[in-house]
Amino acid sequence: MIPGVSLYEILTISAVVFFIGVYGFLTRKNLISILLSVELILNAVAVNFVAFNVYLYPGDSQGLFFTLFMIAIAAAEVAIAIAIIVDLYRLVKSVDVDETTEMKY
C-alpha cells in the first residue's frame, strides 16, 4: 500500500505500459525488439497482479507468488527465444521479421 496513491493510478500505468508493449510488438521489425516488447507486456501484467494484491487482498499472497513464478517463466521463455533467434540467424543470416514468413499460403 503506497500511501496517497490509489489503485486506479497504478492500474492505469500498467495498462499504458501494456499497450505500449503491444504497439512495439506489432511495429518492430527486428526479432529481438519484438522480444523486448514482450517483456514489457509481461512486466505490465506483473505490476497489475501485485497492485491488486496489495490494495485489495493484502492478507493473501497469490499476486506475489504469481508474479514470482511469472518472472521465472519469463526467464525460461527468453532463453528459448534467444536460442531460436540464434539458430534462425544461422539459417537466414538475418533477424528481420520479414525473413521468417515461411508458413504462408
Binding site: V97, T100, K104
Partner: protein, 628 residues
C-alpha cells in the same frame, strides 16, 4: 402369371446348350395358359357369366396396390367380361401357335432361348393388359407390352436397322402413351376413379362428369377420351402414328405374327372397346374422331400396300388397313342392342383377323425361310415346292378378302353393314378398301406362288413340321370361326341380339372382292407388262404410294430441323452456358475469393498478433459496452 414365370425361368437360366428344352418350357407354359383360357371362356360364356340375359362383368380377383385418396386407388386384378375372355382366347391361341412355329423357325439361332423368354414376357404382358380391372393397370401392362415389343423387334440387335426400328417403335408408341396418360389423368380427375366397372356403368355418375363445354367447344371428357384414343392410335398404328409398324418388320417373322398381326396392335382397339360405353355416352364426338381416323388409315394403308415389294411390308400395311376397319367399326357403333352392331363387328373382326393374319405372317415366314429373302421380286412359282404353305396362304388370302364361307367374310360383312347404317360416306370408303384389299393380297399371292418360274439356287423346301402344323391349325380357324355367333357373346352392353346377313351388303362386298381378285389375276398371274403400264399411268401417284407417301420423311424433317435444330440446340446452349456457366461461375468466384483472402495467411506473426489484439479489443468493446 404362368408365362411370366416362364419368362423368368427361361430368361435367367436359359442358355444355348440345349436350346430345345427352353423352347419347350416356354411353349408348355403357353399351352397351359391356353387351356386355362379356353376353360375360362367356356365357363364364363356358357355357365357363369350370364345373369338375366346380360353378361356381367366379373371381378375374379382384386387387390389394392396404391392408394391416393379414399376413392382413388390403383388396383391389380382380373376382370372377366365378354371381350376380355375373347381376347384371352385370341392371345393364348395365337401365342401358342407362334411358340410352336418358333421352335422350328428359330432353330439354330444363337438367341434361341432369349427369344422364348421374350415371347413369354410378351404373353404375360398381353394377358395382364386384357384382364385389367382399371385404367392404370391397363396402362402399366400397356407399357410392358411396349417394352416386350421393343425387345422383340430389336431381337437381331447386331443389325443397325433392327435396332433403329425397335427404337422407332418404342418412341412413337411412347409418345402416343403420353396422350394416353394425360387422358387417364383427366378422366380420373373428372370421375374420381380408375376402375372400369365404375367408369362404364351406364347408370353411373361417370357418364356426366366433365360434360360441360370447356375447351375449344369440346367438353373436357371428350378431350380426355380423344387423348386416350391417341394412345390407342399409337399402339394400333393409326395415321399419323403408324410409321413404326412397317419398320417393325425387322424383327423375326414369328414376332410379326404375334405382335403385329394379332395381339399388340389390337390393344388400341381393345382400349376403345373397353371404354366404349363412356365414349358413346359422354363423348360421342370422340367416336367420330375414332371413325374418321380409322377410315382414313384403312384407305391410306391399302393404297400403299398395292405398291410395296417386300412381303412383310405388304402384310404390315394390310394389318394397318384392317385395324382401321376395326377402329371405324367402333366409331360408327351405337350402344345397346342392335345399334351396337359396330361394336360387335369390330370385336368379331379382331378375332378373325387375328387368326388369318397370323396365318399370313407365319406363311410368309415359311416362304422367307425357304427362299432366304423378303423380296417379292425374288419369288415366283413357289406353288410347286411348298404345297402346305401354298394352300394355307390361299385360305388366308380368301379370308381377308371376304369371300364366303371363310371367316373374314362374316366379320367384314358386319362391319360394312354397321358402316352403312351409320353413314354412307364411311360405307363407300370401306367398300373401296375391301376391293383394294382383295387386289393387293392376291397380287402378293400370285406374285409368290405363280408368276414366273425362277431358278432358285437351292431348291426351296417345305417347312418342317413344327412350322407347318400351326399353319394348318390357323387355316382351320380361319375357315371356321366365321360361324361363331358372336352376337350372342360379345355385344356392347351384354345383351345378345339378333343379326342376320344382309345379302345386299354381302353381295356387294363379294362382288368387289371378286373384281379385285380378277384384276390381280390379270396383272400378276403371268409375268406381263400390265403392272408397269398401270404404274406409268398413275405416274407420280405410284411413286408416292411406293414411298409410303413420304410420311416418314416429314417426321424426319420435323424432328431433325425443328426439334433438334431449334429446340434442342437452344436447350443445349442454355444448359451448357447458363446452367453449367452458373456452376463454373460459382467455382470461379470461390477460387477468386480465396485467392484474394489468402493474403491473410501471410506468415507474418505481427499481422496475426495485430488481428488478435484488435479482435480482443473489439470483443471487449462489444460485450462490455455496445451490447448495452
Amino acid at each position: 402369371m404362368i408365362p411370366f414365370l416362364a419368362f423368368f425361368l427361361v430368361g435367367l437360366a436359359g442358355n444355348n446348350k440345349s436350346p430345345k428344352i427352353w423352347g419347350l418350357i416356354s411353349t408348355g407354359a403357353i399351352a397351359v395358359s391356353a387351356v386355362l383360357s379356353y376353360m375360362t371362356a367356356w365357363r364364363y360364356l356358357f355357365q357363369v357369366g350370364k345373369v338375366e340375359e346380360t353378361y356381367q362383368k366379373i371381378i375374379a380377383f382384386n387387390t389394392t396396390w396404391l392408394t391416393f385418396t379414399d376413392k382413388l386407388h390403383i388396383d391389380m386384378g382380373v376382370l372377366l367380361d365378354p371381350i376380355s375372355v375373347m381376347m384371352l382366347v385370341v392371345v393364348s391361341t395365337v401365342s401358342l401357335m407362334v411358340h410352336i412355329y418358333s421352335l422350328g423357325y428359330m432353330k439354330g439361332d444363337p438367341g434361341f432361348y432369349r427369344f422364348f423368354a421374350f415371347l413369354s414376357l410378351f404373353s404375360f404382358s398381353m394377358f395382364g393388359l386384357v384382364l385389367a380391372t382399371n385404367l392404370f393397370q391397363m396402362y402399366i401392362f400397356w407399357e410392358l407390352v411396349g417394352v416386350s415389343s421393343f425387345l422383340l423387334i430389336g431381337f437381331y440387335y447386331y443389325k443397325d436397322s433392327a435396332v433403329a426400328a425397335a427404337k422407332k417403335a418404342f418412341i412413337v408408341t411412347r409418345f402416343a402413351d403420353l396422350g394416353f396418360l394425360i387422358g387417364i389423368l383427366i378422366v380420373s380427375y373428372l370421375t374420381g376413379t380408375f376402375d372400369f366397372q365404375t367408369l362404364t356403368d351406364p347408370n353411373g355418375a361417370a357418364m356426366t362428369q366433365g360434360a360441360g363445354v370447356a375447351f375449344l367447344g369440346l367438353s373436357t371428357m371428350t378431350w380426355a377420351l380423344i387423348l386416350i384414343f391417341m394412345g390407342g392410335a399409337g399402339k394400333s398404328a393409326m395415321f399419323p402414328l403408324h410409321i413404326w409398324l412397317p419398320d417393325a418388320m425387322e424383327g423375326p417373322t414369328p414376332v410379326s405374327a404375334l405382335i403385329h398381326a394379332a395381339t399388340m396392335v389390337v390393344a388400341g382397339v381393345y382400349l376403345v372397346a373397353r371404354l366404349f360405353p363412356l365414349y358413346y355416352t359422354a363423348a360421342p364426338f370422340a367416336l367420330e374422331v375414332v371413325a374418321v381416323v380409322g377410315g382414313f388409315t384403312s384407305l391410306f394403308a391399302a393404297i400403299i400396300a398395292c405398291t410395296q415389294t417386300d412381303i412383310k411390308r405388304v402384310l404390315a400395311f394390310s394389318t394397318m388397313s384392317q385395324l382401321g376397319y376395326m377402329m371405324l367399326a367402333l366409331g360408327v357403333s351405337g350402344y345397346g342392342g342392335h345399334d351396337g352392331l359396330g361394336y360387335m363387328a369390330s370385336m368379331f373382326h379382331l378375332f378373325t383377323h387375328a387368326m388369318f393374319k397370323a396365318l399370313l405372317f407365319l406363311g410368309a415366314g415359311s416362304i422367307i425361310h425357304a427362299v432366304h429373302s423378303n423380296f417379292m421380286g425374288d419369288m415366283g412359282g413357289l406353288r410347286k415346292y411348298m404345297p402346305i404353305t401354298h394352300i394355307t396362304f390361299l385360305i388366308a388370302c380368301l379370308a381377308i378378302s371376304g369371300i364366303p364361307p371363310f371367316s373374314g367374310f362374316f366379320s367384314k360383312d358386319e362391319i360394312l353393314a354397321a358402316a352403312l347404317h351409320h353413314s354412307t360416306f364411311f360405307f363407300v370408303i370401306e367398300y373401296l378398301v375391301a376391293g383394294l384389299t382383295a387386289f393387293y393380297m392376291f397380287r402378293l399371292y400370285f406374285g409368290i406362288f405363280w408368276g414366273t418360274d425362277r431358278k432358285y439356287e437351292h431348291t426351296p423346301h417345305e417347312s418342317p413340321l413344327t412350322m407347318a402344323v400351326p399353319l394348318l391349325i390357323l387355316a382351320l380357324a380361319s375357315m371356321t370361326t366365321g360361324f361363331i355367333p358372336f352376337n350372342d357373346f360379345v355385344t356392347s352392353d351384354g345383351h345378345a341380339f339378333h343379326t342376320h346377313i344382309d345379302w345386299t351388303v354381302a353381295g356387294a362386298s363379294i362382288a368387289i372382292a371378286v373384281i379385285g381378285i380378277v384384276a390381280a389375276y390379270f396383272f400378276y398371274k403371268q409375268k406381263n407388262d400390265l403392272p408397269d403400264k398401270a404404274a406409268n399411268t398413275f405416274g407420280a401417284f405410284y411413286r408416292w404410294s411406293y414411298d409410303k407417301f413420304y410420311v416418314d420423311e416429314v417426321y424426319m424433317f420435323v424432328t431433325k430441323s425443328i426439334l433438334f435444330g431449334i429446340i434442342s440446340k437452344s436447350v443445349a446452349w442454355f444448359d451448357r452456358h447458363i446452367v453449367d456457366g452458373f456452376m463454373n461461375l460459382l467455382g470461379r468466384m470461390t477460387a477468386g475469393f480465396s485467392e484474394r483472402i489468402k493474403g491473410i495467411q501471410s506468415g507474418r506473426v505481427q499481422q496475426y498478433a495485430f488481428a488478435f489484439v484488435a479482435g480482443v479489443v473489439a470483443l471487449v468493446l462489444i460485450f462490455a459496452y455496445l451490447k448495452g
